[in-house]
Symmetry: C2
Subunit: 406 residues, 2 copies
Amino acid sequence: MALIVMKFGGTSVRDTKRIYNAAGIAARTFNNGDDVVMVVSAQGDTTDMLLEKAEEITRAPSLREMDVLLSSGEQQSMALMAMALGELGVPAVSLTGWQAGFQTNRAYGSARIKNLDTERLAAELDKRRIVVVAGFQGINRYDDITTLGRGGSDTSAVAIAAALNADRCQIYTDVDGIYTADPRIVPSAKKLQAISFDEMLELATLGAQVLNNRSVELAKKYGVELEVLSSISPAGGTIVREVLEMNEGMLIQGVAKDTKVAVVTILDVPDVPGVSFKIFSLVGQKRINVDIILQATGREGNKDIIFTVPAADADTVRGLLAENLPRFGGRDVSVTTDVAKVSIVGAGMQSHPGVAARLFEALADENINIRMVSTSEIKISVIIDAADADRAVRAIHDAFMEDVGR
Amino acid sequence: MALIVMKFGGTSVRDTKRIYNAAGIAARTFNNGDDVVMVVSAQGDTTDMLLEKAEEITRAPSLREMDVLLSSGEQQSMALMAMALGELGVPAVSLTGWQAGFQTNRAYGSARIKNLDTERLAAELDKRRIVVVAGFQGINRYDDITTLGRGGSDTSAVAIAAALNADRCQIYTDVDGIYTADPRIVPSAKKLQAISFDEMLELATLGAQVLNNRSVELAKKYGVELEVLSSISPAGGTIVREVLEMNEGMLIQGVAKDTKVAVVTILDVPDVPGVSFKIFSLVGQKRINVDIILQATGREGNKDIIFTVPAADADTVRGLLAENLPRFGGRDVSVTTDVAKVSIVGAGMQSHPGVAARLFEALADENINIRMVSTSEIKISVIIDAADADRAVRAIHDAFMEDVGR
C-alpha cells in the first residue's frame, strides 16, 4: 500500500468530463489499495474570470482581498471533485488550504509555506477517504487567506507529499511529460523518461508549462519524487528525482528557449573597482534577477557592462540605470528585448569538453550570431537574436540528437 | 457614534455598479463616524450557477461538499466589496464565516448558529475598518464549512447585530419596505413605517421576498431592531421591532396571500380518542409543518379531519396517509393544492371583535367561498380557492383600507 499525491491543474478539471476523468484516475489508484491525496487547481478559466471581476472594481485591489477572491476558485473545484468521487462510490472529503493545515507567511499573492500541520489530512486518510485539497492556498498567522502565487498548486502538492512522506507526487497536466525540446519547434523532440531536479530547474522554460520552479526546488529539498504525466493518457510520463542512473554517454537532457529576456548594455563605464558592485546592488534592490553578466573592453580604458534580465523588468532597469548613470560614470544605457536565450542542459556535460564547441559549430553552420555565452556545470546558454531562436533550437537538437534524452 | 449592521442581498451586489452602490451606502455611514459591519450574499445568479455545476456532476451531492461549493459565492462577493470600499478610500477587511466566528451545528445545508465568537470582528472594528462578512455560512465543530439555508444571510446579519449589541440591523434589498399587501396585486397598498416582530412573522408570505422568518425570530429573541430598505433609494424603509407605539385605532398591518399551501382531507375517521394524535404524530415525524386544523362531523358518527400543509409536502403527506389509512380507520384521503391562504395581520385585532365579520363580509360581497378559517391573537386566515386569491386580497385590503398600515 502506497500513498500517492496527485495534482490536477486547471485544464485537467475544467469541466464535468475532465473532473470525472481525474476522479477516475484517483479512484482506480484508491481501489487498488493505495491512499490518495488529490490537489486541485481552480477550473479552467475561473481564475481569469475572477481577475476580470476584480479589475472591473479597481485597478489597485488589496492583495489580501485578491487572495480571498482567487482562493474561492480552488474551493469550488475541490467540492465538485469530491462530489464526483462520491458519485463513483469512493469516499472522499475536500479540504481548503486552512483545513488542510497550510500555514504560510503573510506575503499575499506569493506566500511561502511555513508549516504544514497534517493532523486533519492524516485523520481523513486513516478513515480511508480520498482527500481532495485546494491547491495554491493557505492561511497566515492572522488567520487570513493567502495564495502561493504562480504554480502554487504544484507547490501545495509537493508540500503534502513531503510532509506525509508520500511514495510519489504525480503532476497531471495536459502534456504527457518533459521533452528534450518544445515539440512545436522540434518535431523530433523526445520525451524524457527521467530527469534530475537540477536539470529540471535549468530546463525551467521547457518545464514552465508543466512544472513550476518553486515546486521543483521544494521537491529537491525534501527528496520528493515527481512524475509529470497526462491526465488524458496517464501512462509513461517523466520522472523528476534526485539521482539518475549513471550512464556512459554524454547526456543532453534538453534544449530550451526563453524569449522573455532583455539584454542591458552600459557603455563606457570607467574601469575602476566597485563600479560593478554599485550597478548590480542597485538592480538587486529592485529585486530584479540578473542572469548572464559580461564585461567587454570599451574605449579609452573604459569597459562595457552587459547583462540580461527578465524582459518584464526591462523598462524598470532602463529607467533606474539612466537615472543613476552619473553615479557610476557610464556614457549611455541601451536595452533590447529583441533577443532569446537558448540553452542545452545535461548533467554529463561537464566531463565532455567538446559540448560547447559542438554547440557553436551548430549555430555557425546556420549563420546564427552569438551575442553572449554563459556556462554552468550542467548548462550552456547563448544569447542570440530573437528571430534566430527556433532555428537555433532545431540546429542544436539535431547536432546532439543521438545524445539527447534517455 | 453607533454600530450599524447592513445586509446586502444577491441582487444588491449583483454587478460592479451595484457593489459600488452598496459600498457607497456603507462608506457614507462610516464617514459619519459610525462603525459598520456589512453582511453580503453571493452575487446575483452565482448560487444558481454553482448549483448547476453540482447538478452536472451528480444528482445526489454530498451535503457537506455542497456547502463547501456554495459558500465560495459569498467569499467572492465579500472580497469584491472590500476592494470597492478600498477604492472609495475606506479601510475595509472581509471575513468568511469561520473568520467571523460563526460556529454552527453540523446540519449541512441548514445549519443553526450555536455561537458567534466576536473577537476578530470586534478587533477589526476597533481598527476603524468596515468589516465585510460573508453571509449564510459558518463552521461546525469539525472545522467543516456549513451553510445556514434559505435566507441565511439575514440570519448572519441579525446574529452579528445581536452579538455586538448593534444599534440597528439594516436589511438592504430591492424593495423599499414591507407593504400592507403585495403592490402587484393591490396597487393601493401602503408601505409600513413600522411593524412588530410578531406581526412580521405572521406576514411571512409578504415578507418572504424580503425577510426570512428565522432572522425575524432571532431578531425578536435578541431584541435586534431591523430596518428593511431599498439599496437603490435607501430613505424610509420599514422598521421591525418589539413594541410599537400604542395607537387608538384598530390596526391591520397587512393582507397576505400564500398559494403554496395544500389542503388535506381524511374522510370518515372513527370519532374515537387518540385518532388525531396518531395522524399528526405521523405527519410530524416527517418534519412536515401542519398549519390550520379543522374537524367536521362526517357520516354515521365519523368525522372528517382537514388540515393544511406546505404545497411542497403534499405528495409526501398523501402517500404517508394512504399507506397508514387502515391504522386510524379512515375511508379516504384527498389532497388539493388548488387553494390559497389569505390572512390579515395586526396586533390591535383581538380587541376589535368586528374584524372577522368585516373580513367575511368583504369576501361574501365578492362571492368568494371560505373553506377554512383560523384565527390567532394577531391574525385571521382563510383558505379559499386559488383562483379567488388576488380578488380576495384586494377586497379585504379595500375593506380595511382606513385601518391598514400606519
